[in-house]
C-alpha cells in the first residue's frame, strides 16, 4: 500500500508541511526533510521551484526565485533525494508546476520519483481532465498518487468527480486565494467545510492555504482529516535556517 494511504488510516489529525527545495541554501533539502520527520509531522511536500508559480503568493514566489538562483533543477533535486528512503519513512509528495515536468518528460519524471520513493505529486496547473485523459496510466504505472485541489468555488458535482478519480486525499484549498494569504477562518470556510463533509466523499480531505499556527490548524482540522502549512514554514526557514525546525512544529502541535 502507498505510504500516503497508510498514513490516512491513522486515527489522528494529520499535519503536512510544504517547503521549497534548495531553500534557503541549495543543500538544505535533505536536512529540512529529516528534521521535519523527527519533529513528528505526517507528510512532507517538497516544492520543486518554478520561475512562474501562478498559484503562489509572495513568500513561496520569493523562495522559488531564491532556490532557482541557488541552482535548483529537477535533476539536482532527484540527486539530492537519491538516498532519502534510507533515513525517512513518512510520505513524501513533490509539489511543482507542469512545465518543468514536461521538459523532463512526464514518464521520466514519474519513473525517477518511483525510484526515489516519492509517493505522490501535486501539480496545480495540470488540469483534472488532462491528467485523467493523458497521464493517469503513467502515474499508476509508477505507483504515484496525484493529489487534486478543490476550492470554495468548486461545484459539488465537480468535487464528486474529483473524489472518484482520487486515490489518496483531496487538497481542500481554504479560500479563493493564492498561497500565503491571511484570510481568517470565518463563516465562508465553515459553510464550505460543512458542505464538503455532507458529501461523504471516499477521499479524506486535507486543508491548505492560510494555515499558519496552532489556532488555524485546529480550525482547519475540525471537519477535515488534516492540514497543510506552507508559507508560514517557508518564512520560518528564511528567518531561522534549518536549525530548530522542531520548534516550529511543536508550536503547531503543542
Amino acid at each position: 500500500m502507498n505510504r500516503i494511504n497508510q498514513k490516512l488510516q491513522e486515527n489522528k489529525k494529520l499535519l503536512s508541511i510544504y517547503f521549497t527545495a534548495g531553500f534557503p541554501k541549495i543543500n538544505d533539502t535533505v536536512t529540512v526533510i529529516e528534521n521535519l520527520e523527527k519533529s513528528g509531522i505526517d507528510f512532507i511536500e517538497i516544492g520543486l521551484p518554478f520561475s512562474d508559480p501562478l498559484a503562489d503568493g509572495p513568500t513561496i514566489q520569493a523562495s522559488s526565485t531564491k532556490a532557482l538562483g541557488n541552482g535548483m533543477t529537477s535533476e539536482v533535486l532527484f540527486n539530492q533525494l537519491k538516498n532519502i528512503r534510507k533515513t525517512v519513512k513518512i510520505p513524501l509528495i513533490i509539489m511543482g508546476y507542469f512545465n518543468p515536468m514536461m521538459q523532463y518528460g512526464v514518464e521520466n519524471f514519474c519513473k525517477k520519483c518511483a525510484e526515489i520513493g516519492i509517493d505522490g505529486l501535486i501539480i496545480p496547473d495540470l488540469p483534472v481532465d488532462v491528467y485523467n485523459n493523458d497521464y493517469k496510466t503513467i502515474f499508476k504505472k509508477y505507483g504515484l498518487i496525484n493529489v487534486f485541489l478543490i476550492t470554495p468555488q468548486t461545484s459539488s458535482e465537480r468535487i464528486q468527480f474529483i473524489d472518484k478519480i482520487s486515490d489518496g486525499f483531496i487538497y481542500m484549498v481554504s479560500s479563493s486565494s493564492v498561497t500565503g494569504s491571511q484570510n481568517a477562518f470565518g463563516k465562508v470556510q465553515d459553510d464550505y467545510f460543512k458542505r464538503i463533509a455532507d458529501l461523504y466523499l471516499k477521499s479524506p480531505q486535507i486543508v491548505g492555504f492560510g494555515i499558519s499556527n496552532a489556532e488555524t490548524f485546529k480550525k482547519a482540522t475540525k471537519y477535515a482529516k488534516g492540514a497543510i502549512i506552507g508559507s508560514a514554514f517557508v518564512k520560518y526557514l528564511d528567518k531561522n535556517g534549518t536549525a530548530n525546525i522542531n520548534n516550529f512544529v511543536s508550536g503547531i502541535l503543542d
Partner: protein, 393 residues
Amino acid sequence: MSYFVDKKGYYGEFGGAFIPEMLYPNVKELEENYLKIMQEPSFQQEFQDLLKEYVGRPTPLFFAKRLSEKYNTKIYLKREDLCHTGAHKVNNTIGQILVAKRLGKTRIIAETGAGQHGVATATVCALMGIECVVYMGEVDIARQAPNVARMKMLGAKVVPALSGSRTLKDATNEAIRDWINNPVNTHYIIGSVVGPHPYPDMVARFQSVISEEIKKQLLEKGHTENPDYVIACVGGGSNAAGAFYHYLDEEKVNLIAVEAAGLGIHSGESAATSILGKEGVIHGSKTLLMQSTDGQITEPYSISAGLDYPGIGPLHAHLYKSKRAEFISITDAEAMRAGLELCELEGIIPAIESAHALAVFNMKKFKKSDVVVLNLSGRGDKDLDTYVKYFKL
C-alpha cells in the same frame, strides 16, 4: 487541416487550459458564455457601434506608393495605427468589456508590457465606468512612463509586479493571481491571443475585424479580396491573428509572421520565440515558449516592449508547426531602420512593433504584381523616446 480552435480549445497540438483548479470556475464561465454573448444581436450592435464611432473603424487600407516603388511591388498598409489609443489593442478591449458587462462583472484587471494594452483597457473601463486595475512589471513602469501616466489619467490603478523579472510575464502572473483571489466579481481582459482557452479564440475573433475590412477594401480598390501576402508582427500574436483570420483557409494567401530577433537570434538577447522556443506551458496555454532545458521560463529581449513576450499564442505555434505561415525574425537595427524609412517615404511614424513587420521588405523579394498587405499595428508616439535615443535625433 483546420486553423481554428477545436471543441477542446486546441489548435492542433497547442492550446488548452492548463490552469490551477482555483481558476476553473472563472474560465469555465467564460468558455460557456463567450460565443453565446458574441452572437447576441444586442452585443453585435453595441460592438459595431463602438468600433465605428469610438475607435474610428473601418481603418483605411492605404496604398503606400513610394514604399511600393522602392520595393517594386504593391504595398498596402492596414492603418490600425489610426485606431483610438494608437493601436489595434482597443478592438479587443472593446469586445471584452462588453462581454464582462454581460457576465455581470464589476471589476476589470489586465496585464501590460509596453502599456498599450493597459491604456486600451483603462480607456474602455473609463468609457463604461468600471473599476480597472492594471498590472505592470516594475521595470516596464520605469521605462514606459507616458503610458503609466495615461492609465492613471484614465482612472486605472497601476500595480507594479515585483516578482520574477518584473516585466510582462510577471505582470501576467500577477493578474492571474488577482483573478484567483477575486473569482466572482472580476473579469480578466488578456491583451493578446495567449492564455487559457477560450482567450486565444475570443481575442482572435475580436481582432478579426482587421481582415474582414481588408477583404472589402481590396475589392473596392479593384483587386480580388485575397492578397498575395499578409504581413504582421507577432508579440503574443493578436494583431497578426486579426490580420490573418479570414485568410487562414485561403491557402493561396501567404501569411508572414514577424518576430523580434533583438540583438540577433542567437545573441542571447532575443524574442524570436518560434525559433528559440520549445513546446511547453505558459500562462495556461500549451505553446512554444522560450525556456531553459529545465523548463524555467526565460526572459526575452527586444527593443520593442510589445514584442518581448517569451511565448506566442497557440494559434501561431500551430501556424508555425504546420508551416501555414512563414516566420521571419527581425533585429532591433533592421526594425529601427525600417521605421525611419516609413516616416521618410510615407509620412507615417510607426510603432516599433510594426516597424519589425516593415523590415521584411529588406529581407524578402516580392514580385511587381504581388499585392502585399502589411498590418501597421500601431503608431510610434509611444516610441518617440526610443527613436530619439537610437538615432540621436
